[in-house]
C-alpha cells in the first residue's frame, strides 16, 4: 500500500481522491450510505439510527463521522461523495448544499460563487498555494 502522501495527486489541495486504498478503507461506510437509496432502509435508519448503522461493520471513527454528519471527515475516512450524498439526502441536504458545507461557505455564498463562474483554478492547483491563505 502506498502512503497517501506519496501519491502523485496528494499535492492537490482540498481534494480526496477516491482510489483503491480509500475504497478498501471505506467499503462498509459506503455500503451503509448507499443502503439509504431505498425507502425501507431510510425508514429503518430514521426509526433507530444506532441500531441500523451497527449492521455495517465500520470503524468507530467512521460510525461517529456518519452519525455526526461530518462530511469532510467521511471522505478522509474512505467515503466517496456519490455515497455520502445519499446520507446527506436522507437529512434533506441537496448536492449543492452539501458542497457548500464541505467548503465551509454558506449555501448562499457558494451558489453565488457558482453563478459567477465557480471556484477559479488560479491558486487552487497545489497544496503549497493554500498554505498561506487566510482563514
Amino acid at each position: 500500500m502506498t502512503r497517501a502522501s506519496d501519491k502523485e495527486y496528494s499535492d492537490i489541495p482540498g481534494t480526496i481522491v477516491f482510489d483503491s486504498d480509500r475504497a478498501e478503507e471505506g467499503y462498509h461506510l459506503n455500503k451503509f450510505c448507499i443502503s439509504l437509496r431505498l425507502q425501507r432502509n431510510r425508514n429503518a435508519f430514521k426509526a433507530d439510527p444506532e441500531r441500523f448503522i451497527d449492521a455495517f461493520p465500520m470503524t468507530v471513527d467512521q460510525r461517529e463521522a456518519a452519525l455526526n454528519q461530518d462530511w469532510n471527515r467521511l471522505l478522509e475516512l474512505g467515503g466517496n461523495i456519490y455515497y455520502t450524498s445519499k446520507l446527506a439526502a436522507f437529512h434533506g441536504i441537496n448536492f449543492q448544499e452539501l458542497a457548500a458545507l464541505m467548503t465551509g461557505m454558506s449555501v448562499t455564498d457558494y451558489r453565488a460563487m457558482m453563478i459567477a463562474g465557480g471556484r477559479g483554478i488560479e491558486g487552487n492547483r497545489y497544496v503549497h498555494e493554500w498554505e498561506n491563505k487566510d482563514g
Binding site: T15, M114, N124
Partner: protein
C-alpha cells in the same frame, strides 16, 4: 437488406458530447427548465434537438457512468456493455425519473460484445441493468420529453467513480474497436455515438465548486482536432485542472474514437453552472 447484392451494414455517422448533471434532469422533470437559472442551458440545446430530429439516428451508442446505482461498492466493472432488451430508469433515492424506459438492441449488443472481446477489450456483459441520470439526462437534453425515446440505445457504462478510471488513450482505442464492431453488423442502421459527463467540476471536500473554463475549451479543441494528442491527457492533469469529478471526461474519448479522424464541429455549447458543474456539449459529424 440488400442493395446490388451487397448487405448493408450499420454505420456511425455522428457523435454527441453532453454533460449529464442530475440537476438538468430535475429541471426538465419538474418543469422549471425555462426559469432564469436553467433557461440559458436548455436554450443551448435547442439547435441540438432540431439537429437530431433531422439526423434521425436509428440507434444511439451511449457512453456514460453509473453513480453507485447499478454498480455500488460491491461490483465495479471498468467497462460494462448493456446487452439487455430494455433498461428501466433506476430509483436513485427519490423514485425513478419520470422518463420512458430505454429500449435496447440485443442482437447488436451481442455482436459488439463478441467483437470487442476478440479485439482484446474484455468488457463485462450486462443482460439486466437499470440506468441512472448518467444515461437519461443526455437523452432528455437531446430529445426533450417524448412519450417514448425515438430510437433504441446500446449503453456502455464506464467506471469513473473509483480511481483510476480507464486511461483516455484506452477509451479512445475502445471507441475505435466499437466502431469496427458496429460497422461489421449487417443491418442498415445509422448510429450516433454519445459521450457524456463533465465538464470541469469537483463535488467534494474543500475545493468543491472548482471550474476551469479555459481548460475545458482547450479540452474540446484537442478532442476535435487532435484526439491522438488529447487522449494522452494524464489522470493527474484531469484531477488537478478539471477537478476530481472532471476526470469523467475520459468518456468523451470513447465517443471520439468511434468517429473519423476528421470531423466537422457542427455545434458547441458551454455554460457555467448547472449546480456544481460546467455544462459542455458538442455535435460532431464525420467528414
Amino acid at each position: 437488406m440488400c442493395m446490388s447484392g451487397k448487405t448493408k451494414m450499420a454505420k456511425i455517422t455522428s457523435g454527441v458530447a453532453c454533460s449529464h448533471a442530475p440537476a438538468l434532469g430535475v429541471a426538465s422533470d419538474s418543469g422549471i427548465s425555462n426559469d432564469d437559472y436553467y433557461a440559458p442551458i436548455f436554450k443551448g440545446f435547442e439547435y441540438s434537438k432540431e439537429w437530431i430530429a433531422k439526423e434521425k439516428p436509428d440507434l444511439i451508442f451511449l457512453v456514460y457512468n453509473d453513480h453507485c446505482t447499478a454498480f455500488d461498492a460491491s461490483m465495479i466493472p471498468t467497462f460494462a456493455l448493456g446487452c439487455a432488451h430494455e433498461y428501466p430508469p433506476a430509483d436513485e433515492g427519490w423514485g425513478p425519473r419520470p422518463v420512458p424506459v430505454v429500449k435496447g438492441h440485443r442482437k447488436l449488443s451481442a455482436h459488439i460484445a463478441q467483437s470487442l472481446i476478440l479485439d482484446k477489450f474484455d468488457i463485462t456483459i450486462m443482460n439486466e441493468m437499470e440506468v441512472d441520470h448518467g444515461l437519461t439526462v443526455p437523452l432528455t437534453m437531446m430529445f426533450g420529453r417524448p412519450e417514448e425515446w425515438p430510437c433504441p440505445v446500446v449503453p456502455l457504462a464506464v467506471n469513473v467513480v473509483q480511481y483510476p478510471a480507464p486511461l483516455g488513450a484506452r477509451c479512445f482505442a475502445l471507441g475505435k474497436a466499437i466502431r469496427k464492431a458496429i460497422e461489421s453488423y449487417p443491418e442498415a442502421l445509422k448510429v450516433c455515438a454519445f459521450g457524456t459527463g463533465g465538464m470541469s467540476h469537483q463535488l467534494q471536500h474543500q475545493r468543491a465548486g472548482l471550474i476551469n473554463s479555459e481548460w475545458d475549451a482547450r479540452f474540446m479543441d484537442l478532442l476535435i482536432n487532435d484526439p491522438e494528442q488529447g487522449c494522452r491527457i494524464s489522470h493527474v492533469e484531469y484531477l488537478r485542472e478539471a477537478g476530481s469529478e472532471g476526470i469523467e471526461l475520459v468518456m468523451w474519448y470513447v465517443m471520439r474514437g468511434t468517429l473519423n479522424e476528421d470531423v466537422n464541429e457542427v455545434h458547441r455549447f458551454y455554460h457555467v453552472p448547472a449546480s456544481n458543474t460546467a455544462v459542455g456539449h458538442l455535435i460532431l459529424e464525420n467528414r
